[in-house]
Symmetry: C2
Subunit: 202 residues, 2 copies
């Protein structure tokens, strides 16, 4: 492929992704339609499928951008509590996650709503983004619990992340638990402090 053709393809990809990201942020994943994206990116419908396999791949790439924004938000929160006790760092992380989900609800939901079947599995770079996120937790957690083997540290990180995620997702959706939004931050703090300050060991 010539350099010029390659640049044209890259430009087209970026325009389509910009259009898709805007749709995901404002209306959510279900509003992402190939025909609309073509109109917004100023290309023929078929051109989308020259640069992307399918709409799932488009949404996955939007999610990659969302992960980067989430990562930046988390890094900023961590920078502000760098000198605080590790358990306070964990609470700040949990609150940053809640805040990001609350102010980017559609994009954040889309991280979990993409259709990934057991057959196709999870793409490698998705796992890598995860590891980067979980690494933020394992740092302070390993200071509170230096007794853990790397394996148990990894399990506790995932359990802690999943717990905070459960509070955020049920809270923001006002589903089963019907928790008022102002209770979410204290719930996250309580569960993290109880969890890492616990006597019961893995």
């Amino acid at each position: 492929m010539s350099e010029k053709t390659e640049k044209r393809r890259a430009d087209l990809r970026a325009r389509i992704l910009d259009a898709a990201e805007a749709v995901v942020i404002v209306e959510g994943m279900s509003a992402v339609k190939a025909r609309d994206l073509a109109t917004k990116a100023g290309c023929a419908l078929g051109a989308i499928y020259n640069v992307f396999d399918d709409m799932t791949q488009v949404v996955l790439e939007v999610n990659s951008r969302t992960y980067k924004r989430l990562g930046a938000a988390v890094a900023e929160a961590m920078a502000q509590v760098r000198d605080a006790p590790p358990v306070d760092q964990l609470v700040a992380l949990g609150h940053a996650y809640l805040h990001f989900a609350d102010s980017n609800t559609n994009a954040w939901r889309t991280l979990f709503d993409i259709p990934m079947s057991a057959e196709t599995g999870v793409p490698e770079w998705y796992i890598d983004e995860t590891k980067r996120l979980l690494h933020n937790i394992s740092g302070p957690l390993s200071q509170v619990r230096p007794d853990l083997t790397p394996e148990n540290l990894s399990i506790l990180c995932r359990a802690l992340f999943s717990s905070v995620h459960g509070i955020v997702i049920l809270g923001l959706e006002k589903r089963i638990t019907a928790v008022p939004e102002q209770d979410l931050a204290p719930m996250i703090e309580v569960i993290i402090r109880n969890y890492v300050g616990s006597q019961a060991k893995i």
Copy 2:
């Protein structure tokens, strides 16, 4: 309305719900289509809208059945550990929730996937089903933590349920945390034991 007409309406509702429940269990909520339900229930398409407001109401009623099945599964698990220490009862509850979600994945997911906007709010009976479920947790939890005010007990119940839910949902979907399925039950046990056995108090 005559008794006969009323019975006919009730029969039709039940047939439509049976058809919808079967679809939800096998294929999930997105596969519930009015036209298919009419065919399966042996009625005209318009007849569905004589007995239900819309497809959302049909799915909500299917969810009501799912809640009852979940409630029965939880009650059965509780009956088996009635004489165990309260913390073991809580672990059994968490495991029963995981087991139900794992073996009824589509129906369980549908509990959380129904479109409920902030405007329409959550129906009253949905909140009641929730309270019944959370009541199973508050019993043993109040034995472990008799110091809690009713308000704090309620917050801790919801936080504990949300945590277990987060582990189950991320685990079964193999999204961000990519936790192998056999690790889910131990993670639930660890988080519950750490949580309720904790020294850090609300």
